[in-house]
């Protein structure tokens, strides 16, 4: 069975479709549960009208399925409020280097 740490580290490799910042550093991941071969991830987005929802969901699903022992991936969109304070320090540095914040 995969561990939560493994799942978290895999999500650290899933990048935002526009900028080279992971969805973890961007603060979109709001919960991880592992139950047998099933992983449940709670995701929020930077806005209700985020144009990349489908791409992010696809990328999360395909990256998590590549973990040994994971056969099912369930993504729950929680639409919790998101603002720039959710971005990690590393994420902020990446965005600053691109002239975004």
């Amino acid at each position: 069975m995969a561990t939560e740490a493994e799942v978290r580290s895999a999500l650290g490799e899933v990048l935002d479709p526009e900028y080279p910042i992971s969805i973890l550093d961007l603060g979109l991941v709001r919960g991880i549960e592992v139950e047998g071969d099933k992983v449940r991830v709670k995701l929020t987005f930077t806005s209700l009208g985020c144009p990349c929802v489908e791409l992010i969901r696809e990328d999360v699903r395909s990256r998590l399925r590549a973990i040994e022992g994971v056969h099912q991936v369930e993504i729950e969109e929680v639409f919790e409020p998101w603002d720039a304070s959710a971005i990690s320090r590393k994420g902020r540095e990446i965005l600053r280097s691109l002239g975004v914040c």
């Binding site: 479709p17 009208g49 144009p51």
Partner: protein, 310 residues
């Protein structure tokens, strides 16, 4: 203002031009021309894409298309802002020019009328923009533009991925495949034209020595072909170009340039190749959607113009 030789020396030494007094008038005029083409292209893509986005198959797809349109307007704003900093009256540029005076590629003047055509535009036209702006980003000697393009480049990645992802979805749908192939048939060659005159008809000396671009038209056209052709082949779509391993480059398999029936979105290859002068004449006449797209942009300003004049 620098003398030409001092300017060329500065550029050769890899020092960026940050202000007009780091360059000379010819350089600034050339830079403005290049920026206007880029700004107009980004701006006009917005109403062109908006029209086709009305045909989005679901809400998420529509939101993605709107995100792309918003990005394009942001990119246009960046380029116009750089022009304004060079002393250009950008309000006059955007709101007072006649439709045929805009400098966007002819391709956008052929209306995009379906979701299928929109996603092919995201894959083909945005790839062309990505190739052209990527070249500017790597080679431009104008510092403010180079810095601004970091963000633009990243956002275009998303547009390409959106277009290519949707092309893959449509290619796998037997009910949509023919429609997709039809869009590829007219849009592929129109994008090839986008890169402009072939190298034997155009001298780039000044643009390249001034560091306004790095590669020639034919090199950039090859770069576009080198990703677009394999991508279409992977999806099982027919494209009129192939890689010639002996020549070490992509070869176009149809008469090029050719006559285009814009109303019916069809290439008249059976009539053989035409000259680039014929193409330039068609570009100057502009295409069927030209007036509509520019009017979309200018509509609000036209309404307040009397009040502004008063």
């Amino acid at each position: 203002m620098l003398t030409d030789s001092a300017l060329l020396e500065r550029i050769r030494a890899g020092r960026l031009v940050e202000r007009p007094d780091h360059a000379n008038e010819r350089y600034i005029e050339g830079l403005k021309r290049t920026l206007i083409v880029s700004a107009d292209t980004e701006l006009i893509s917005a109403p062109a894409y908006l029209r086709a986005a009305q045909d989005a198959p679901n809400v998420n797809a529509y939101i993605s298309a709107m995100g792309i349109i918003q990005d394009e307007l942001g990119h246009a704003h960046i380029a116009y802002r750089l022009l304004r900093d060079l002393g250009v009256d950008t309000d006059a540029l955007v709101y007072e020019r006649r439709p045929e005076e805009f400098k966007h590629p002819y391709a956008f003047d052929v209306p995009l009328e379906s979701w299928t055509e929109l996603v092919v535009a995201n894959a083909f036209y945005d790839r062309a923009g990505f190739v052209l702006l990527g070249d500017v980003f790597r080679h431009t000697s104008y510092g403010p533009w180079k810095r601004a393009l970091v963000k633009v480049d990243r956002e275009e990645n998303f547009h390409l991925r959106h277009g290519e992802r949707w092309m893959s979805i449509l290619a796998q749908d037997p009910a949509r495949r023919d429609e997709l192939q039809r869009a590829v048939d007219w849009m592929f060659v129109l994008t090839l034209e986008w890169f402009g005159l072939p190298d034997h008809l155009k001298r780039h000396t000044e643009q390249i020595s001034y560091g306004l671009k790095g590669k020639t038209n034919d090199q950039l056209r090859q770069e576009w072909l080198s990703t677009t052709v394999p991508f279409c082949e992977k999806l099982g779509l027919r494209v009129p170009a192939h890689y010639d391993s002996e020549r070490g480059e992509y070869v176009i398999d149809v008469p090029f340039p050719a006559e285009f029936d814009a109303e019916n979105k069809r290439w008249l290859f059976e009539r053989g190749a035409i000259t680039w002068d014929d193409v330039l004449a068609r570009w100057r006449r502009r295409g069927p959607a030209n007036v509509e797209l520019v009017s979309e942009i200018q509509r609000g300003y036209a309404q307040i113009r009397p009040a502004l004049a008063a």
